[in-house]
């Protein structure tokens, strides 16, 4: 009894990472426990019903789960918890969704009272059709996602054996010339394909696009890729042409400006959620071809209208990609139930240790407001307060000092407020990319930044996602979208692409002390801190001095 694992009564598992058995233990508990936090010494996993059911779906039984806990636990595992695990896992598979030769999609049960119980639920009633026999009830094919989601909420998850449609076949191969999928990418593709549908969580810069490409090469069918914006769409296209057998002509872009539908179509969330006269005209895209695979890039940003539509697509394979499955609206579980469970997740630090993302030095620089600013801050309207403290003048001085310190390196300055960015751009003599910057202009600036023609770029939140800036080594965040954890992670991701010279990346977050800014910063950093990124805190004087 001296294992690396401590099983807490609140169903969290604490794993001591420095323990010699830690790696074995991690493998044993990974199928059913969610990694919640991964700081330096003790990683926290959580055992959730969803995790246990996913483990069941992947073929693990309660006995294995209990064995894993008992085997590695340092202290005796509370009996009640073991009983609870067995009971929870036992709930899975009492209900099955399957294809019936005569009745189409049906819900069958091995335990009649359970079926009676769920059919009594008001939320299930509208989703099912006629009762075929005592143990079987017909389900509308279009409600497949909905009923799965609802059953999950009722605590009787259905095992989905109805399978997937193959979709329209289209040959896609990875063109592995001079490069190959990294082991974890291969593993992610494999897990996804084995599981049918689901979400792959990889740190920024760890090559999620390639996981998408790998999945497409597995599916060998027409694919719809949903991305956040046009720039990102172009990059996907560029990457796909470079990494696969697909040619430019086979890849269509479906955005505000172009409406191409090709065997592989890349659409933006924005165009899908455009609303005219109360309807979403572009949602037809989902039905415009017999897609064999749908890829959701940055699935944590999936807009709500797409949720509803995704529910109707349960017969197609779905792949979600994200770096941080934290949604500030708390709808993570909807993502899991509609796209699929998490199929692959790698702690950031583990990928860093393998050398696929650059190590990063995270620093929070605390600046003091000047006396007059403090007074103004104290009297500012509540909704103006954050803006006020986030755009203090001192931040500009600190930013300039940091830029000076890293002169010669590629530096990104990221912020929320256009005025502040314009002013910074002026002082630093750097171009500013913001919402009104045209796409052509953006790409031009990105290209020259990539080529090293300009070394400092000031960007607003438009550049939060999916812009590929391979050689940025320093990022300075001067303000953000309040306490958004995933924005922080995405921004750190801007500097995590591995550097040619193995250089360390630097991430500076400039924060006004004793203000809302500081509170938000603490919240923003939480996700990364839990991933093991230890922020150092510096005083502005240390930077300026």
């Amino acid at each position: 009894m001296n294992g690396p694992l401590i099983v807490q009564s609140d169903k969290t598992l604490l794993l001591e990472v420095d323990h010699e058995q830690a790696a074995d233990c991690r493998r044993a508990i990974a199928p059913f426990a969610e990694l919640e936090r991964a700081p330096e010494h003790i990683h926290t996993y959580r055992v959730t019903p969803l995790g246990l059911w996913n483990a069941r779906a992947a073929g693990h039984d309660a006995e294995q789960v209990v064995d894993a806990l008992v085997e590695y636990s340092r202290y005796p595992v509370p009996h009640a918890l073991l009983v609870d695990i067995a009971e929870t896992m036992d709930r899975y598979g009492r209900l099955t969704l399957s294809k019936h030769p005569a009745h189409g999609l049906v819900l069958t049960t091995t335990d009649r009272p359970v079926l009676e119980e769920v059919l009594k639920s008001k939320r299930i009633a509208p989703l099912v059709g006629t009762r075929i026999d005592a143990d079987t009830v017909a389900v509308h094919p279009s409600e497949r996602g909905q009923i799965k989601q609802t059953l999950l909420k009722l605590g009787w998850p259905a095992e989905d054996l109805a399978g997937y449609v193959d979709g329209e076949a289209h040959p896609i191969e990875l063109a592995e010339d001079g490069w190959a999928l990294r082991p974890y990418q291969k593993q992610a593709v494999e897990n996804f394909w084995h599981g049918g549908s689901g979400v792959v969580v990889l740190p920024c810069g760890a090559g999620k696009t390639l996981v998408g490409a790998g999945a497409m090469a597995q599916a060998r069918s027409t694919t719809l890729i949903l991305v956040t914006n046009t720039v990102s769409a172009r990059q996907w296209k560029h990457e796909l042409v470079k990494r696969t057998s697909l040619t430019e002509d086979e890849i269509g872009e479906y955005s505000g400006t172009r409406k191409e539908i090709r065997p592989v179509t890349i659409a933006t969330y924005q165009v899908l959620t455009t609303r005219r006269k109360g309807v979403y005209p572009h949602l037809e895209l989902f039905d415009s071809r017999d897609w064999g695979l749908i890829v959701y890039d940055e699935v944590h940003l999936l807009p709500a209208p797409v949720f509803k539509f995704t529910a109707d697509l349960q017969a197609r394979r779905r792949l979600g990609l994200t770096a941080t499955l934290v949604r500030e609206d708390g709808r993570e579980s909807d993502v899991f139930s509609l796209i699929g469970p998490k199929r692959f997740d790698a702690p950031w630090k583990e990928i860093e240790a393998q050398g696929y993302i650059a190590p990063a030095d995270c620093v929070e620089v605390r600046v003091n407001l000047t006396d007059s600013e403090r007074l103004a801050y104290a009297t500012a309207e509540t909704e103006e307060k954050y803006r006020f403290c986030a755009t203090t003048d001192t931040k500009r001085k600190v930013t300039e000092a940091i830029v000076r310190r890293f002169a010669g390196q590629q530096i990104l300055v990221i912020g929320q407020y256009i005025d502040q960015l314009d002013e910074l751009g002026e002082h630093l003599g750097a171009p500013v990319i913001k919402g009104e910057t045209s796409n052509a202009q953006r790409e031009k600036l990105f290209e020259s930044f990539r080529q090293g023609e300009i070394s400092v770029l000031v960007v607003s939140k438009v550049a939060n996602f999916s812009i590929d800036l391979p050689e940025a080594t320093v990022a300075i965040q001067v303000s953000g979208t309040f306490g958004s954890r995933q924005e922080e992670a995405q921004r750190l991701g801007r500097v995590l692409r591995p550097k040619a010279d193995g250089h360390q990346a630097h991430f500076y977050s400039v924060v006004a002390r004793d203000t809302l800014d500081q509170d938000f910063a603490a919240h923003r950093q939480r996700f990364l801190a839990e991933q093991g990124y230890a922020y150092r805190i510096m005083d502005a004087d240390e930077v300026l001095g």
């Binding site: 807490q8 009564s9 604490l14 001591e16 005796p76 009996h79 004793d514």
Partner: protein, 867 residues
Amino acid sequence: MSTEEKSAAPRSLAEALRVRDDVSLAALLRSRPDLITPVPTDLTQLATRAGTRASVVRALERLDRFALQTAEALAVAPDPASYGELLGLMAGDEEDPAVAAALPRAAALLREQALVWGADDRLRLVRTARELLAPSPQHPSPTGLGPTVREATAGMSPGRIQEILAAVGLRSTHDSVSAVSALGALFADRRRMAALLAGLPAESREVLDRLVWGPPYGQVTHDPAAHLRALLDRGLLLPTAPGTVVLPREVALHLRAGRAHRAPEPVPPPVEAAATHRPQVVDATAAGQALAALATVDELLKEWDEGGPSVLRAGGLSVRDLKRTAVALDVPEPVAAFWVELAYGAGLIASDGEADERYAATPAYDEWRELPPAERWARLAGTWLTATRTPGVVGGRDAKDRTLSALGPNLDRSAAPEVRHRVLALLAGLPEGASPVAESVLARLRWERPLRGPQQQRETGTGAARDDDLRSRIARWTLSEAELLGVTGRGALAAPGRALIGAPEAPRPATADDTGEPEGPGDKLPVHHHRTPPVTAPPSPAERAAATATAARLLAPLFPEPLDHVLLQADLTAVAPGPLEQELADVLGVLADVESKGGATVYRFTPGSVRRALDAGQSAADLHAFLARHSRTPVPQPLTYLIDDVARRHGRLRVGAASAYVRCDDDATLDEILADKRAAGLGLRRLAPTVLAAQADPAALLEGLRAIGFAPAAESAAGDVLIARADSHRTPPRAAPEPVPDGPPAPDDTLLTAAIRAVRAGDLASTTPRKPGPAGEDGGGEDGTPGGTLPRTGAAETLATMQAAVLTGEALWIGYVNAEGAASQRVIAPIRVEGGFVTAYDHTADEVRTYPLHRVTGVAELADDAG
């Protein structure tokens, strides 16, 4: 007892007892302690007492199922019966070997308990027991047997009996008694009986089959069908009442092949093992749970530390408070009730007895906290084992349909300690590390202490499920509570739990006891205590103390060593990978918030928690030193920074109380004031160069400053100068005078009613016609004038009349002189006369009053028509 069989046959229970040796008498008294409270004077008295109904019922209720079945069989056997007859009834014609083997033990047990006496050839069940167990129409026997032929034919006409004799082919005799015995003998004769039954139609035999295992009574119509008539004619069914017939006992026994019980249970059902775990796993799990139990009790007490929930008027905890506690402890409500009751039982919480009664920790809790963990646990477990309060019934309803609340009254179930002890003893009998099948434990308990009259229950249907009785419920609770408390681990009894009940420390797997193998035949001596129900006498306090001490000693090494370090992480959490030393845990509990509990504890540092530590008097340097001391790894920079950051702001704003202030733009003036000795009484303190705070109130301050020679001006709350006129003099708060009206205030209805009543009562006293005084000296001719003189009697007579009135409950008319010498007359009904006072209901005043007898001038009885 063997001596008893050798001596001349005893003629009574007393004689039988007299020949028993001391050991065997001691055994009797041990198992029936009610016989020696109070100690009887002689054996005759002991025998009499042993035959009283209450004592016999008590003894019968404590018999195991087989002994009870044996007693029941004896009750349907002839009196006296030989051992052979008893064996026949129990083992049947085919002579079940298991029964034959177990019967000597049961017989010996009954004899030991003085329920049966007499030598083997003349076994007698004590009369009371026989009455209790023998079948009667009102109380059918569990054997399902009816009355004997003799009993059933009592009162039957001799002619009818002759007819029956003729029908079964017996020689007729005019003597009814011998006729009945002949019939009985026929029924008891297997061979002749078989022939008789063979001659019956099949339907008739079906009827008998239906009645054979009881209840033996059946209904017949006035004109029975042929197959019933055949039975009635032959006396195989005998009428008991119009329309009712009974199957005579002899017939039933023949049909049952001689067996009194359908299913004799000579062997206790074995306790089955559900699973076997390694003893180390069991002990470790139990220890983990024991630790969790301590933590839970601690948490409960902490939760209630600053004023627990209030006590209901009827006593106990309200449902809402229990719910709240359950939420706080993160357990279901019944479990919360268990912990609350446990803490209460151990004397750690109690009602504070204030006017607004609340539950709070007792001083004993503080002492308990100081104990080492294992001893703390032993105290809880020891309390639990012997407690009669059963948290399991909380939430149910008592006989008066009141909800039973936790910590409330009526939770005591006297059977609880014995059942708990017995359940654990059964677990102790299993091989090490084996967890029992709960059902088998319950079955075993039911065998050891069967409910009497299960048949009645089955009939009325009130018994419902078989394991719904209190003892079974307590047994179930015991199994789950033992797990919660860490007496068992994964269902199996752990070593400390084993020590707790005083069971041997190292049990050999599977003793003969538990496989339930019968002992060798012929072993009749009453030394089967391990097979009989447990001795009801609880272990002495000294034994218990020794057992808990041993349990604590065994548990201590199983607890993980308390740690003196934590792991600090950059995400501002600290993980204690095990139980912490008390002191460390206390400080950390203030400095950080607990996020997750269990084997380990996860703490999170927040600005709020750090401030809490600073508020508690720690300085930032203290905190840094504390963390550095208790961290195995370097303290993460963000944590250091957090502490410094909070400390930097901590206490920057200061708050204090002052009654008045002095402000002046000129620092020098304030220096001057502070330096002046005369200002010392004003309690001045400099807050800032231009501000002084004073403890004196503004008026006194103004006065004081003027006295020194300054000319201060008063300021309003808004800072304006107050233009003060000469001080107006004021009294302290005073009430306005009440108006004094001319006459008395108008009476309200209540007052009026009371007044009328008093008047009427006084009227009664004065107008009631009286009997003439016995001495005839009470005012002579004035008798007829109501409202006249007071009655006047001598002191002795007054006393005698009063005492008589107490007995008869009559009302008296008295003359009374009050302390001021005013005479009055009253009508009273004396209740008590003692110590020179009479306590009486005074009809005049309409209340109970006490009068000194010496002030009563005289007394007279009221005339009969009074009132």
